[in-house]
């Protein structure tokens, strides 16, 4: 116990993080706690949480950041611990592996191969000297490193390959670190926001999701057109926005984006994420003279005053609502305007699209009805910047390679010993691998077959 007390704090922390038992514990805790956030919906409205859980649980969960648990201090602490654990364990072990991997002159003990139970032995009618050349070239074809040594009454060939695969597990660990670093870069230098752009309009800033603050862009983005198409069944087929990037009013880049095919410019990505309809900027008016019964067609642009026929004064289209309650009924989509007669007071004019005769109730000189010219959409874009993404993707590639090397490749060593017995030779083939022993037995059997084992000469 004396030693333990004498350790410096650094050594104590190092020792703590060098345990694989800790790895297992952290992995299981991460697995268990991750469940919470899948059961309790994340980042919802606080009042909804309050109503669901009541004051006590609400306060408790709030303190523990349960409502945004994957970004909470304790979850980040767990990830950091896992990272330290991986780094410390890898550093502790890699120096030994490194010496093994970069050993120019690997040593081998023939006695170890002799004692392997699954070895293959046979008699060749030639003498050892006659076999050496042939055997060497056969073995060299399948192994990257071979070495022949003379023994008391013959020779032995030692061969190996895949020594470097012992580094596979460190590759996987490196990939996890790379992923976490990439995620960190993204969370520090990146952002996530959204912008809704009506057709024909231009935006030069977006709104950040986290803080709800405006974030100015170095350029402008214009939505030229938005289209949504549907299958016959009514489910959506495609959302498409035609976007143009402008700098100083000059169009630089035009692209139609759909889901799965975003626009990227200067490190900022625009994704098709939602859409909606806007009050039409322009409506078609139909006016009927109360006495003359003459029909007039006119267009009204929002907030632009127009002259009405039959000297009825001026009209301005001011508002458009998706629903309009009237004496307990909903009139649906309704345009609203203000009529200023030549002499008299201004009156509000209510023009429900679905009820063209509604304005008759006003008892004016003209009965006005409105029709929508075309639906005006806005496109909803998810806007992100994440300079860490390429680090993360690099991590992904390293992880796949690392897992493959670690699980399916191994350091294979083989030894072929040829000893003189009378005028003949006794041949032994034996091999070991650091992983997948069953696979290694198959390789040994195959090598013995190549060297000339048959059912007749087998020992």
């Amino acid at each position: 116990m004396q030693q333990v007390e004498n350790r410096s704090p650094f050594e104590a922390i190092w020792a703590f993080f060098s345990s694989v038992r800790l790895t297992v514990a952290i992995l299981l805790i991460l697995a268990a706690t991750s469940i919470i956030g899948t059961v309790i919906p994340q980042n919802e409205n606080p009042t909804d949480y309050f109503n669901t859980f009541g004051p006590f649980l609400y306060n408790l969960f709030n303190v523990l950041d349960i409502f945004d648990m994957y970004h909470s201090w304790w979850f980040r602490f767990l990830l950091l611990s896992l990272m330290l654990n991986i780094v410390v364990c890898s550093i502790n072990r890699i120096s030994t592996t490194w010496k093994v991997v970069f050993n120019e002159n690997p040593t081998f003990h023939i006695s170890r191969f002799r004692s392997i139970p699954e070895k293959e032995e046979f008699i060749d009618s030639r003498r050892p000297e006659e076999l050496k050349e042939e055997f060497s070239s056969l073995i060299r074809r399948r192994f990257s490193y071979t070495r022949a040594e003379t023994t008391e009454n013959g020779f032995c060939i030692y061969a190996e390959k895949g020594r470097w695969t012992r580094l596979g597990v460190y590759t996987v660990h490196l990939s996890v670190i790379t992923l976490l670093v990439g995620a960190l870069i993204g969370s520090i230098f990146g952002f996530e926001g959204f912008v809704n752009i009506p057709e024909g309009e231009t935006a030069n800033s977006i709104r950040l999701r986290k803080t709800n603050a405006l974030y100015p862009l170095e350029f402008e983005i214009r939505c030229d057109d938005f289209n949504v198409s549907f299958y016959e069944s009514g489910s959506p087929k495609e959302y498409r926005s035609s976007l143009t990037i402008l700098e100083g009013g000059k169009p630089l880049l035009q692209k139609n984006i759909i889901v799965n095919d975003p626009l990227r410019y200067k490190g900022i990505n625009f994704f098709q994420s939602s859409y909606g309809t806007l009050p039409p900027n322009e409506i078609a008016l139909k006016l009927v003279g109360k006495d003359t019964k003459i029909e007039y067609d006119q267009k009204a642009v929002m907030n632009k005053e127009i002259d009405l026929p039959e000297g009825e004064g001026k009209f301005v289209y001011t508002d458009y609502r998706n629903s309009f309650p009237f004496r307990g009924h909903n009139l649906g989509e309704t345009a609203i305007g203000i009529l200023t007669p030549k002499n008299g007071n201004r009156v509000d004019v209510i023009l429900p699209i679905k009820f063209p005769s509604f304005d008759g109730m006003r008892q004016g000189g003209l009965i006005i009805s409105a029709a929508e010219l075309h639906h005006r959409y806005y496109t909803g874009l998810q806007v992100t910047r994440d300079p860490g993404v390429w680090v993360v993707y690099t991590g992904f590639v390293i992880m796949i390679l690392g897992c493959y090397i670690t699980f399916f490749m191994s350091h294979k060593r083989i030894c072929v010993e040829v000893a003189k017995t009378g005028k003949k030779s006794k041949v032994m083939v034996a091999g070991t691998a650091n992983k997948n022993k069953l696979g290694m037995h198959a390789i040994v059997r195959k090598m013995a077959k190549n060297l000339g084992i048959t059912n007749e000469n087998r020992l």
Partner: protein, 278 residues
Amino acid sequence: MNSSQLLSIITFFYGIAASLYIAAWIFKKEILGKSASWVVLLGAAGNTAGIIVRWVESYQLGIGHAPLSNMYESLIFFSWTLMIIYLVIERTYQNRIIGAFATPIAFLAMAYASLSPNINDRIQPLVPALKSNWLIAHVITCFLGYAAFAIGFGISLMYLLKQGDKNAKNRMLVHFPAIDVLDELNYQMVMFGFLFLSIGIITGSVWANSAWGNYWSWDPKETWSLITWFVYATLLHARLMRGWHGKRLAFISIVGFLAVLFTYFGVNLLPGLHSYAK
């Protein structure tokens, strides 16, 4: 006959094969086992045909896409991968008792796909989010992983049965593969599954980044796939570094497969981005 009808018939093939494997195990009759192998082989061939026919049908409907787009299609593909992996194991290890533990899983998945009233077997057009080449890579790799974990689960059950019988007295367990072979096989399945689960999560992540602008958003299905990954990562570390073997590993493998099941089915009860996989 359309693909759904063909695949319902394959369900019966797998059901018969499962019964034959179990019968062969109980009554120890070689002929039962051999016929089970043939029925499974025919079933897998029909399953392959069903998937191809369905693919062709979707093009005839003018909404051509790989048959990997909803719960029904994924269950069919899951059964297919499971049976292919099983057939490889049967050939390699020359042991048919594993069939009594693997084929019932494929049969249940197919039966659930064909019979459950909640599962729509019609070919539906792809919604915008699914229109991507990543769909094929993501679904195939995930289900290769899931199928390997399913077989690992079956083998773990066999391990637990076998190791409970210390003195080899139980005649039912005589023809089980040796206990260390089961342990090794479980481990092989987990390694294979882990590699493909990792690739599945990665392809999904790259896909999400091109569709939604986020490679990771802690949606319940993503999170549950990560939980599964943590469980199997635990198993691998426990075995490689702490020398765990046998019973404890079989137990973690079973827990891991329960996490797979929740990732696959349970998550649909929770709200999230993967709602089209219902």
